[in-house]
């Protein structure tokens, strides 16, 4: 007989009570039910599979799409006291991979990228394991269509069948009804759904229209100069994140750093830790930033570029105000901004004509082209030409719908929260002054208590090295 869930919670984490959604998800899993948990960022989704792994024999296999952050996840497991955790993905060196494979049966938690799991040899090894739980992290990636789109996610349903339909936990921060249905369909599962509202009443929503790029820069500088940090500014490009970090630091005197997947793991580590230790006021980030950041007091999230869909937008603004204090999410928009996500989406989308020609003579094409590589991937997995054409046109429709939804938000004249929650099939509370400021209205930052209180200390500087060394030890 298993001990009560709360007893395990107390033993492993030292908490008395679950956060909402955690207990429901665990109860469903322990009843043998596949579960789709739609819980906001910061709700403690990781704890669900950690505790499940603690209470049940077998390996917990976590499929995660974010390569560069998988090691962070393993570190977090170690931090939480789960030592038998490892990650395998394309960034894992050959010798390290061999080492992990030799001891595969010893791990309690294995993190793996979908493309790694899709490899037949790897799948054969995994079939040998006693799988306690399969976790699909960031499950909304199955339906998302953007530059980060991972075709391997589409194979997860078939892989799951090959693994004899293990008990499965699907995790995502945001998913409306359509997305939920699509996830269940792709994974060939009828999960029990555990969902919490995506609404974050303490995040004030703001959309601001600007004329053009220079004006946007200027407005950003002004906001960063005025507002109380810490804050995060999201960009769609690494280069722009890097350049803007530098100019913001020079113009506002705030302590700013860029964070993106192009940095070395050492630099990513240092910048994350500096931000956590309040040695940075602002992070200029790409979507690579977020996971692994347990910072509760982020006061603002600004989007410099239009996100491709509401799911990513909700995830990213969800990093503000986890402490429940007043925070703000600002979206800066200049007309034509929708071109960027459109372009990024189209970058690796082949035309129907190309698909036809490729299927007729695949050997005539070079897989160095991203779009061809995608086609080759489908073809190798036995997906027919007709099915691929249909897949792409459906994706395109979905993508356009998602972008149209973002644009409707940007142009919403009355209540942004209403617009936003509607996208997730949720009811919204009555609009009030502290709810939102659609385009054309300005937020009263002073009233919201979001203006900077005091000038921050200068960047951690290289003082006397002997003293610094002494502090370390």
């Amino acid at each position: 007989m298993l001990e009560p869930l709360t007893t395990s919670l107390e033993k492993v984490f030292g908490f008395n009570t679950f956060r909402s959604g955690q207990a429901a998800a665990l109860t469903a899993l322990e009843a043998g039910q596949d579960t789709l948990a739609v819980l906001p960022t910061g709700a403690g989704k990781t704890l669900i599979y950690q505790l499940y792994g603690y209470r049940h024999p077998g390996c917990v296999l976590i499929i995660s799409p974010l390569l560069s952050l998988m090691n962070d996840q393993v570190n977090r497991m170690h931090m939480a006291g789960f030592r038998r955790a490892a990650a395998i993905n394309s960034l894992t060196s050959y010798s390290e991979r061999q080492e992990i494979l030799r001891h595969l049966g010893d791990y309690q938690f294995l993190f793996m990228s979908p493309e790694m799991l899709a490899q037949p040899q790897m799948l054969a090894q995994i079939k040998q394991l006693q799988l306690g739980l399969l976790v699909i992290d960031e499950a909304h990636c199955i339906v998302q269509w953007g530059p980060d789109f991972r075709p391997e996610y589409l194979l997860l349903g078939a892989i799951r069948s090959q693994l004899q339909q293990p008990l499965t936990l699907m995790l995502t921060a945001t998913a409306g009804q359509t997305t939920r249905q699509e996830i269940a369909k792709q994974l060939r599962s009828q999960p029990q759904i555990v969902a919490e509202s995506v609404d974050r009443p303490n995040i004030f929503l703001d959309v601001e229209h600007v004329e053009n790029e220079p004006e946007k820069q200027e407005r950003l500088t002004q906001l960063v100069g005025q507002m109380q940090g810490p804050g995060v500014v999201y960009f769609s490009s690494k280069q722009q994140a890097t350049d803007t970090a530098l100019s913001l630091q020079q113009q506002t005197g705030a302590r700013v750093a860029a964070y993106h997947a192009g940095l070395s793991s050492e630099d990513r580590f240092k910048i994350q830790q500096q931000f956590m230790a309040d040695q940075l006021d602002v992070i200029c980030a790409t979507s690579a930033f977020g996971m692994g950041i347990d910072k509760n007091d982020v006061r603002y999230v600004i989007h410099y570029h239009l996100p491709a869909d509401f799911e990513s937008y909700a995830q990213e603004i969800g990093r503000a105000g986890r402490d429940g204090q007043q925070s703000i999410a600002i979206l800066l928009y200049a007309s034509g901004d929708e071109q960027l996500p459109l372009m990024l989406g189209q970058a690796n989308r082949p035309e129907a004509e190309t698909i036809h020609r490729y299927y007729a003579r695949p050997q005539a094409f070079s897989e160095e082209d991203a779009a061809i590589a995608l086609l080759a991937f489908y073809r190798r997995h036995g997906i027919s030409e007709a099915a691929v054409i249909q897949l792409f046109s459906r994706r395109e429709r979905e993508r356009n719908r998602a972008l149209a939804q973002m644009l409707a938000y940007v142009r919403e004249p009355h209540c942004l929260r209403h617009n936003w929650l509607q996208a997730f099939d949720e009811q919204s509370p009555e609009h009030q002054a502290d709810c939102c400021a659609p385009a054309g209205m300005s937020p009263d930052l002073a009233q919201l208590g979001l203006l900077a209180k005091a000038k921050t200390a200068p960047v951690d500087s290289v003082d006397d090295w002997r003293a610094r060394l002494h502090r370390l030890f």
Binding site: D72, S93, A257, D267, F269, Q273, Q274, Q279, W465, L472
Partner: protein, 347 residues
Amino acid sequence: MEAADLLALLDQQQFRRLRVIENLLRERKTVSTLYWGQRYHLLYLVGLAKKLPRGALDAPARELQQRGFITVGETPDQIRLSPAGQAAQAQTRYYQPQTQATWSQLDLMAARQRILLAVQVVSQYAHSTKRYYPLTTDLETRQAVRRWFYQVKSARLSEQTFVSLQKSLEQLPEATASVVTALFTGYQQPGLTAEQLAREQQRTPWEITLMQLDGVMQIAGDAQAEDQPLTRLLRSVWRSPVTRSAQQTLAAMGQGRSLEQIAAARRIKPSTAREHLLEAAILLPRDQFPYDWILTPTMRQEFANVLTGPIDDWQYTAMPQALQDRYAFFYFRLYAIWCDKRGVEDA
């Protein structure tokens, strides 16, 4: 690497090939790359940027050319400083590594990783922190540091580590000691990134890396010279600059056999054996290579008669045909290496 970093690697007399510099950094150790690396006095760059993409120096070179700092030689790949470039180089106080003469004896990158993680582990241990995010490193480093930590763990570990690190850093310029310390991660000190330090010190990130490597070399050298906590951790990252197979060929040479005999015994092609020997000759000090067995006095005299002027201008195909027939390119190249190592002035 930026234009300023490339500028520091160029000379006003000698044309230097961009591809050689790139291949040194990327650790593409062909005999030709090593030979020219030696001629440029840039062998310390070997393997310092293994992930540098091919052609990564082209953009910095273009920038230097646009600013009129370089002139191009017979092929566009060969460049040297223009008078303006020379003035610019003299004006900048570009960082000169202090310990680079011994860099080839250490796997610097592995030593760097080990030291960084060890400092973090000891620092957190000193403050009794049980749970923290460790630096992300490769498995080998993690295992080495973990094994080491359990061996040396003691009440005095942090004090001893502090004392020996301070002693090592004091051997270096103050600015270098500051940079090395600021890059460390530990208890309540995330550490600065090279980028952040570069901005603060008004240097390039590459210079910051060179400063850090100076620190790594100093720390490793001191740990080798006398017993201290880091000694055990760093023992296995020392190495010969010469590859294992070249070492074996050289050892076989020591048993007094001819090149052909060695090649047959080692089941390698004679050309491979010659490459091994040239590699060893370039990378080892002069007294560790048996020049006398290979370059006979007659041979040296015959070469000396025709090879005059700057070594870089010597050309095998420009020698009299009779001499070319008698001596293969191997002997010509080895003679040049021997002259270079003797410090024969490029007249």
